[in-house]
């Protein structure tokens, strides 16, 4: 077979958000499926699968809007499932940009649904999701088909159902072992082999992935065409690249992951300078050096690692002080001989206790000119203070009084300040207008805190509006 075995991260979606222990801590919005999807593509995923776990049992409609957003950023195929009950449900997901749809419970009730979707859109668009569970038969193991998200037993068995679904038009089988799912003890190879005997269409193995050596056997021993996992990828136990390297080492044909860091130009000592920037404030925190191992460690752990020229050793920033830096991204510069870590710093960068190494006490500085007045408003200190008051209320604090009164009262204040700002704009001088704007911004920040609305949500809106304007 010349086609690569696919490695597929699965994102479980509820209410349009990623659930199930997603720990992409560095993402601006950890639960945003769109950001997670883009990241998986960059890591080398061959395909993504989105399963709306609420759709089937809460009788909810599908995720058309989410699919549109994913399709606008993703350049690899993706499959969407959850609550597909009619040809129209599948059509809406495909029209929104999904490459394939999975059908589960509804196909068990009416296998002709697979046929009707396949006739309309092609069988390569139709994946039947099969959840199966081991039950003791008379002397042998039977694989019972489960419905409703693996919670309800049916009277169907694996092999006849897989054969029937294939004949009905399914172009692929997504087989999940309900027993193995979540155990991290490995895939159920016997179950996969049974399904393989029953169909010639591609099989995606799902349920049980926990260790690197778990990924090759479904392919080599049970004839699976793809391996799917959720938590090992979400929890960053393994990267897609690590899984692919393990598969390749076992003799499985995979699409290799391109390593952007391979382009780094190290100097004659094997080192490259690393500028560290605070991703939130934009401040330059420090400059240090890294060798290839330090870059790799930084990537695999998500924490800043460097190479110490004085100690001639790898070091983890914060190893002794506890002031680690979580790395959001690693960038190379235009000629690849300098590296930038964008980080979320957990404490000061400098060993002197200063926030940045360039603000250390006594650090020489030559001032050449007056710094220009800012062209924008830095709301970060305001957000910080309001967050602090929310976490630790302070006696007599106006912010705390407001927060105690609740969203209704704060909303009213925002309205009042809005009107006052508008009035000041047409009747008052600059100083008064500045004061009203300050009051308005302050109350907006408090309102966001009271509602628990993350600033990233607002940022996202601003960003998408900028995008829209560009289109016109």
């Amino acid at each position: 077979m010349t086609v690569a075995v696919r490695v597929i991260p699965c994102l479980d979606i509820a209410g349009g958000r990623v659930v199930k222990g997603l720990r992409f801590e560095n993402l601006r919005d950890a639960g945003d499926p769109v950001e997670a999807a883009a990241r998986y593509e960059q890591e080398g995923a061959d395909e993504l699968t989105f399963l709306d776990i609420t759709a089937s049992h809460e009788e909810r409609g599908t995720l058309v809007h989410l699919v549109e957003r994913v399709a606008s950023v993703l350049s690899i195929p993706f499959t969407v499932g959850g609550g597909v009950r009619k040809v129209e449900d599948a059509g809406a997901l495909l029209a929104a940009g999904a490459d394939r749809v999975t059908v589960n419970t509804a196909a068990l009730a009416d296998p002709s649904l697979l046929t009707r979707i396949a006739e309309r859109y092609g069988s390569q668009c139709v994946v039947v999701a099969v959840d199966a569970k081991r039950v003791a038969g008379n002397g042998t193991t039977l694989f019972r088909i489960m419905s409703h998200g693996g919670r309800r037993a049916t009277d169907r068995e694996l092999e006849p159902w897989v054969a029937e679904a294939t004949a009905a038009g399914a172009g692929e089988i997504l087989l999940t072992s309900v027993d193995a799912d979540g155990t991290k003890d490995g895939f159920d190879l016997e179950m996969l082999k049974a399904a393989r005997r029953a169909t010639s269409v591609p099989i995606v193995a799902s349920g049980g992935a926990g260790r690197l050596h778990h990924f090759a056997p479904p392919v080599l021993e049970a004839g699976a065409d793809a391996v799917l996992a959720a938590s090992v990828f979400h929890d960053r136990i393994y990267s897609i690249g690590e899984v692919k390297r393990a598969l390749a080492a076992a003799g499985v044909r995979v699409r290799p992951v391109l390593d952007p860091l391979a382009a780094a130009a190290f100097d004659s000592r094997g080192l490259v300078p690393v500028v560290v920037r605070d991703v939130r404030s934009g401040a330059v925190l420090m400059l240090a050096w890294a060798n290839a191992e330090a870059l790799e460690k930084t990537r695999s752990t998500g924490f800043s690692h460097f190479f110490s020229r004085s100690r001639n050793a790898l070091w983890l920033k914060g190893e002794t002080s506890g002031h680690v830096q979580r790395v959001v991204s690693i960038s190379l510069d235009c000629d690849r001989d300098a590296v930038l870590y964008d980080v979320v710093a957990d404490g000061p960068a400098c060993h002197t206790g200063a926030t940045t190494c360039f603000e250390a006490p006594g650090a020489p500085v030559v001032e050449l000119a007056e710094a220009p007045a800012p062209r924008t408003i830095d709301l970060a200190p305001l957000f910080a203070i309001v967050a602090e008051r929310l976490a630790q209320p302070e006696e007599g604090s106006y912010t705390n009084k407001l927060l105690e009164k609740g969203v209704g009262r704060i909303a009213q204040k925002v309205g009042e300040e809005g009107v006052e700002t508008a009035l000041a704009a047409v009747t008052a001088g600059d100083d008064e207008l500045a004061g009203e704007i300050a009051d308005l911004l302050y109350h907006v920040v408090v309102l966001m805190a009271a509602r628990g609305l993350e600033p990233a949500r607002v940022e996202g809106k601003l960003e998408s509006r900028r995008g829209k304007r560009r289109d016109k």
């Binding site: 086609v3 950023v73 690899i76 490459d99 092609g122 390569q124 290799p256 391109l258």
Partner: protein, 205 residues
């Protein structure tokens, strides 16, 4: 900003092709207007589904002549998937149907015993050519792209073949004959490799 005309002729999911170009910052005009197609400098012919109804739709709307006119004028043409197959002389999918004839060769099924459709990631191997193909500029020698198809071209002119792919034997998966380009796979679904191909298409002639 680069401008590209994506031919909308009622066949398949043109939206994903449009998004693929938009992600690169190109300005995309989705149209079935033969005049606009004929006048364009960059024309993409997408398509999924069956050859005969697609060709019929092109002929009925005058787009077949418009595509040929654009190519004759020196506009760069990119056929994708079924759109790539339509560039050839004919197809034997469900009976023989004439194609646009911009590339020599015919579209045939895979050999018996090959699992179809050919779905998934496979390699494109650059074909030996006197001049390197522009469509593959900047790609490493081993590149993987995403395929979904049940038919493939054969009998192409060796000079027109930019790359081949092995699935039931090698077949021409990328063609470049002057300004007429085509890919059997989906660059808009082929991650960075696909983006590079689309960038090459948008790039300077």
């Amino acid at each position: 900003m680069s401008k590209v005309v994506v031919v909308d002729y009622g066949v398949g999911n043109v939206a994903s092709v449009r998004r693929g170009f938009e992600r690169l910052g190109a300005e995309v005009l989705l149209t079935g207007d033969a005049e606009k197609v004929a006048a364009a400098d960059r024309v993409v012919l997408p398509g999924v589904g069956a050859f005969a109804p697609a060709m019929e739709s092109l002929v009925k709307s005058g787009l077949d002549a418009a595509l040929k006119a654009a190519a004759a004028r020196g506009g760069r043409l990119l056929g994708l998937c079924l759109g790539y197959q339509l560039l050839f002389e004919e197809s034997e999918e469900f009976g023989t149907t004439r194609g646009l004839g911009l590339l020599k060769g015919r579209v045939v099924g895979f050999p018996a015993g090959t699992r179809t459709p050919h779905v998934g990631w496979n390699r494109i191997v650059p074909a030996p050519r006197p001049e390197p193909a522009l469509v593959l500029a900047g790609l490493p020698p081993e590149s993987w792209v995403y395929f979904v198809h049940s038919f493939r071209p054969e009998g192409a002119e060796a000079a027109d073949v930019a790359a081949t792919t092995d699935y039931g034997g090698p077949f021409p998966s990328v063609a470049e004959k002057g300004n007429v380009w085509g890919c059997q796979f989906h660059p808009e679904k082929s991650s960075e490799t696909g983006r590079q191909i689309l960038r090459n298409f948008l790039g300077a002639a």
